[in-house]
């Protein structure tokens, strides 16, 4: 049995109109999970705040940081098209993980709109499994938009900033 896109949409409509909060269907290798309540954690979406920038962490658990703002699920889908149309260059995520605009909570962001950057400018951090990776601009110009938000979980290749060359 195969499900078409119309079948899936029909299932979603039925669930939406039903009294059920949670629905899971497996047909062969196809698996559909629907929740009307709390969001279902996606395989790659769990995230946490960074704990420390120092290895001297042997005796104290760092307090958890709270992202400055709730994380949106993703950047606007047309951001890359907008960038291309306006001649802007994207700075993209080299790895997936939690994106941070500043080296630590309360610190000034690495860059803001209007900042002049070069290829070697560090523009943010992405944390995955306690590895804090510096994101380098790899482009030269002026930051015109900070697309990803502090604390947002970003995918590989997702646009973080737009830069006017």
């Amino acid at each position: 049995m195969e499900l078409t896109e119309d079948d899936v949409l029909h299932i979603l409509k039925l669930i939406d109109e039903s009294k059920f909060d949670y629905f899971q269907l497996e047909v062969g290798e196809l698996k559909i999970t629907v929740s009307k309540g709390d969001p279902i954690p996606l395989a790659s979406s769990p995230r946490s705040a960074p704990v420390s920038q120092s290895p001297g962490a042997a005796v104290v658990e760092a307090p958890k940081a709270t992202p400055a703002a709730p994380a949106p699920q993703s950047a606007a889908p047309n951001i890359d098209a907008k960038a291309a149309a306006e001649g802007l260059l994207p700075i993209t995520a080299p790895i997936l993980g939690t994106f941070y605009v500043a080296p630590e909570p309360g610190a000034p962001p690495f860059v803001q709109v209007g900042a002049a950057i070069t290829e070697d400018t560090t523009v943010g951090l992405i944390e995955v499994m306690k590895v804090f990776n510096s994101v380098r601009a790899n482009v030269k110009g002026t930051v015109t938009q900070v697309v990803a938000q502090n604390g947002q979980f970003v995918e590989y290749g997702q646009t973080l900033f737009l830069v006017k060359p």
């Binding site: 769990p46 290895p55 001297g56 005796v59 760092a62 990776n133």
Partner: protein, 279 residues
């Protein structure tokens, strides 16, 4: 700041004074790590110094050790406890020939090496708390903090930062951390030679790092899981926006923690703090 009195039970080993680099070098048998040792009585942070060195082109294997860190602090400004001459604050520069997606494997590799080193000093295997802390009896003995610089194609460098409580009795630690931390001297009732610990750690890191590059992550992952104290047990995973309750199943080939919830759904955890359910 209180410096501990010398303990003469270790014979000729120099205890609770500055680290003796020559004693670390003596008999050091490694392929790549520890070729350059940088030692500071005090520094902002060994990771920060290592990063500056790496950005200036320092080669792989340089090790930075400091007796005290002035910026060893948490992200919300809570100061780290960093007394001189008793603990280890250590960073090493790596330039791995691995794709960026495998950078987290280096943290788990370092945890295995650190656990091996610690086991050789305390006589029993410690537990690894996913992905990077070393616990004994549920209390923190050591931690690994990894920083990297990479683009989409390659890792430019990785800094492995390691902190270990060695000859720092829990009884002398600030009250705020006393319940959550432990140290080798508290566990074994004996001060150890910090030089011997550093030499062994560099050698274990060198061995495990070579294995990761040459053989891959699989055998290291098995050893990591052997140190993982929570496999098959109930865990609470605290993430920024929610908490997950489930059963820890181990790690996958990327080092992500696999947790199964009560519906039988398995989730890959790539960021979050994991605690035993009874905590």
């Amino acid at each position: 700041m209180r410096v501990l009195e010398p303990d003469n039970r270790q014979g000729t080993a120099r205890i609770n004074g500055p680290l003796q680099l020559q004693q670390v070098r003596d008999g050091l048998a490694t392929r790549r790590l520890g070729t350059n040792l940088h030692y500071f009585a005090e520094i902002d942070s060994t990771n920060a110094y290592a990063r500056r060195l790496a950005e200036q082109g320092a080669g792989e294997g340089a090790v930075i050790i400091a007796e005290a860190q002035t910026r060893g602090r948490g992200r919300l400004g809570r100061s780290w406890v960093s007394p001189p001459f008793v603990n280890l604050y250590f960073s090493v520069i790596l330039r791995p020939r691995l794709p960026p997606v495998h950078a987290p494997q280096l943290t788990l590799m370092a945890a295995v090496a650190l656990a091996d080193t610690i086991a050789s000093f305390i006589g029993t295997p410690p537990a690894i708390k996913w992905p990077n802390d070393i616990l004994v009896g549920g209390k923190k003995l050591a931690g690994v903090l990894t920083e990297s610089s990479c683009d989409a194609e390659r890792i430019e460098f990785v800094i492995l930062g390691i902190g270990v409580n060695l000859n720092y009795p829990v009884a002398l630690m600030p009250e705020v951390i006393r319940e959550r931390a432990t140290s080798i001297v508290t566990l074994t009732k004996n001060n150890i030679s910090r030089e011997a610990f550093v030499r062994r750690l560099i050698q274990d890191l060198d061995r495990c790092y070579g294995e990761l590059e040459e053989v891959g992550f699989d055998s290291l992952a098995l050893r990591w899981e052997a140190f993982f104290g929570l496999r098959g047990k109930g865990v609470r995973v605290e993430m920024t926006d929610h908490i997950m309750i489930g059963t820890a199943k181990g790690i996958d080939r990327d080092g992500a923690l696999i947790v199964e919830d009560d519906r039988g759904e398995r989730q890959r955890i790539v960021a979050g703090d994991v605690f035993p359910l009874e905590d």
